[in-house]
Amino acid sequence: MSASAVVFYILSVAILVSALLAVTSRKIFRSAIWLLFSLTGIAGLYFWLQMEFVAAVQIVVYVGGIVVLIIFSIFLTQQSGKDLPKPVRRRAVFAILAACAGFVLTCMVLRGYAFPSPAAGGGPVASVGSIGAQLLNTSEHGYVLPFEVISILLLAAMIGCIVIAMKTKPDKK
């Protein structure tokens, strides 16, 4: 087993263990920190796959944005030091059964599928320059229309957040 494979298996164990702790920890703040480790591990996986730009986006948006947002909302809504209630035993058992059954089924389907052998490594095409050029390209394989649509979506989400979280004024009667 080469060093690269060892790095992959260490990364995947780290991702899975911290994800498991994130969904089972009884303290909500620790759960958020485990989620942070899991997302950082996924960014490491992207680095391992030589997708540097996706890894950078993962770190900037997820680790720097979403997790910080989640931690802020924990501070706004939770009493510190209070444990989350234990999941109902019946529900936990059925959730474990459902997750295990789904995992086994998906793995069996995956094993039965013959993926074509990996294409001969054509060098790192996923450079930031080529990603940017194709993202803003207006020709046949360009992604400029989804890019513009998603900027409208982000604007709409931003305005929607402000409207939803705005304090309603007390009724003036």
Partner: protein, 104 residues
């Protein structure tokens, strides 16, 4: 990179998906449910990037799909947290069992 077969990365993302699903089914707190949804979205992203890297190394479509998923996940998290804060103002709790009315 080529020593690890593609199927092992798919096993990893499948396991991550079902860990997120377990969290979504057992947790009753809205913030932790949102964290499980983020895990599920990340497992999908891993699949897109791995397929792009292993099967179509000369193209970039998987990268674009994962970038758009990241953007949509950010928008979704922001809206979800606005809803959570609004819910907390109305019910003084963000447990899904507490929110059993739609309008006052």
């Amino acid at each position: 990179m080529n020593q690890v077969p593609l199927i092992h990365i798919l096993f990893l993302s499948t396991a991550l998906f079902f860990v997120g699903m377990y969290g979504l089914l057992t947790r009753r707190n809205l913030i932790t449910m949102l964290m499980s949804v983020e895990l599920i979205l990340n497992s999908v992203n891993i699949n897109f990037v791995a397929f792009n890297r292993y099967l179509y190394a000369d193209r970039l479509d998987g990268v674009f799909f994962s970038l758009f998923i990241v953007a949509i996940a950010a928008a979704e998290a922001a809206v979800a947290i606005a809803i959570i804060i609004n819910l907390y103002r109305n019910f003084k709790s963000i447990d899904v069992e507490a929110a059993d009315e739609m309008k006052f």
